[in-house]
Symmetry: T
């Protein structure tokens, strides 16, 4: 059945490794309290710089999860 | 008194019938747990297609509700 | 001849029935004072909620009408 | 398997009846030549006005369909 | 350590005094239930008018707060 | 009754004092000819600079007012 | 004195000649009824095509004019 | 009859002469394979620079054409 | 010679590996039927989640290719 | 004479006091090295929060200044 | 070799003649101090009006130039 | 003390390897002349295609650095 309702939340994950890893970290963290997450969308990709190098990546995503019927 | 605070949430409702009905379904579902909802704004109207027909409508709305004083 | 000039106005119509009807109400009202309206474009679709139901729809449209030569 | 590729096209459908019907007309027409359409997203909702009434609705949608493997 | 996760919420504060005060009211209210708020970003500045004067200011902000590790 | 129609106009107010005051000046000026103004929304905040100081603030707002029934 | 108030209107001009000429036509037409126009900003540049050629240009501009003190 | 369906394509034309000419070149080229083109909309105006002068103009347009019934 | 015409298409590629790989998959697939592709631009980065992990990445790109003279 | 050229820079100013003051601080700082600044436009209004209060305001502005002839 | 770095600047050029000429003036002026400019993109097209006529055109462009290796 | 002023510049980095590497290259290059860079934000991700493969990635970022007090 398709008449589900979804809620979206916006979270920012960080990683010293890569932009993809920052997304994976955000989802892993959110999964501790949110269930039935289905998709994400990248909203903003940022990062912090120290001594002319990327110190860590920060990616903001919107995550959609299904509300229980 | 007008110095209220409002919170917004973003939800997606579905309907096999119409885009307006998808909005109504989302609000009805949210009303089970959120109180004092005042307004909504349409953010995105999408739908799924099967065999060249709209199978169901999916409308994402932002809903504003008042925080209790 | 095609060297017409058009003016655009932005109006919001309301309806307790549907989002399409809110648009029709806005245009009908505007037609009382504006002539030669040619087209509209939806700018924003909102609505008010009471007791977990859509109380009325509010759609903001931009309307284009021809200035008399 | 999930490593599909999708292509998007942008089309505008018309209807004298309603905005939802304009979308359905666009999809029905596209289905004559495009296969495996999966979803649509509303890009722009417009309409033409005659004598102070909506003469017909014109809705532009983006349609996604799967490329054959 | 920098691999924190942040969540964003969107709230609207009101004030009869000024647009800055509306933001401060929103944050003060949110602080009653949300901890570790770090930053805000203004999304929309609106207000209500009565008898040709600004009756109250309404500013919508996005607030970011850190999720506990 | 809620089936009102609203019209929006866009105006820019100026002030040597503050951005909020520029908004108040715009509304006060518009109130001389427009009645039943209900709300405003900030569209653009600018200003002019002279000798490294803000000479005056210029804020563009959209104002909504109700059309008489 | 700088505490002026400006109003903006949105108009579309047409020309069979060029996009710049469409803007000039819109302003010339508006000047018949609006005084103290100061600036314009291009919002949208479109045109109509006949037999694979640009039949006429249509440029939508926002025009700002000063309200009389 | 108004229940037509339109398809949009996005193309970029070039010209060493002017931005308007880049649009005309794009349409002329497209007309070799696409029929019943009705309108265009400018999406992006760019250009290439050589030795401090505009070497050629590149304008991206969206073109709408009618699908055959 | 620089008076070329380019066409843009919008495609979505998928990968279980990374966001960059999703782009490469989309381009490789498109290359089977489209020639003279020159550039791409990322439009949207999304992904699907299963059991709190990124199941696959979905990146939508716009691809520009040269029309034959 | 009006055939001037202007350059824009983007700067962020901070203030513990107000959003307007953050703008004034940014301009005052820039005036130490940039001459003939004419106008600014607000791009983004943010702030930092400590213990549920606005610790300082951060406003990003675009500043336009005239290049010497 | 393709691993170049480019910097973008935003400038506004003016012309009493045409919008294209305003762009050319901006680039010619910038070329006095900036080398290796490669491309531009139009950001905003505006103009000033005097006595119901375009007094001069003002076009804001982003210009990209290569940083020396 | 928090009353710092920041300046933003926009640069594009290239890499034959990955989109993240293009960002790192841009920052490394900028670090040769700009000091106290704090953060970046991705503005645009593009790339060049040769023979149906990504030849190199081009990512445009905005970089913020602190102005010396």
């Amino acid at each position: 059945m398709t008449e589900h309702t979804y809620k979206h939340i916006e979270i920012t994950g960080s990683s010293t490794e890569s932009s993809d890893k920052a997304i994976e970290n955000a989802i892993e963290k959110a999964a501790q309290t949110v269930h039935m997450m289905h998709w994400f969308q990248v909203i903003d990709t940022r990062g912090y710089i120290e001594e002319g190098k990327v110190k860590y990546w920060q990616v903001t995503i919107k995550v959609g999860f299904r509300l229980e019927d």
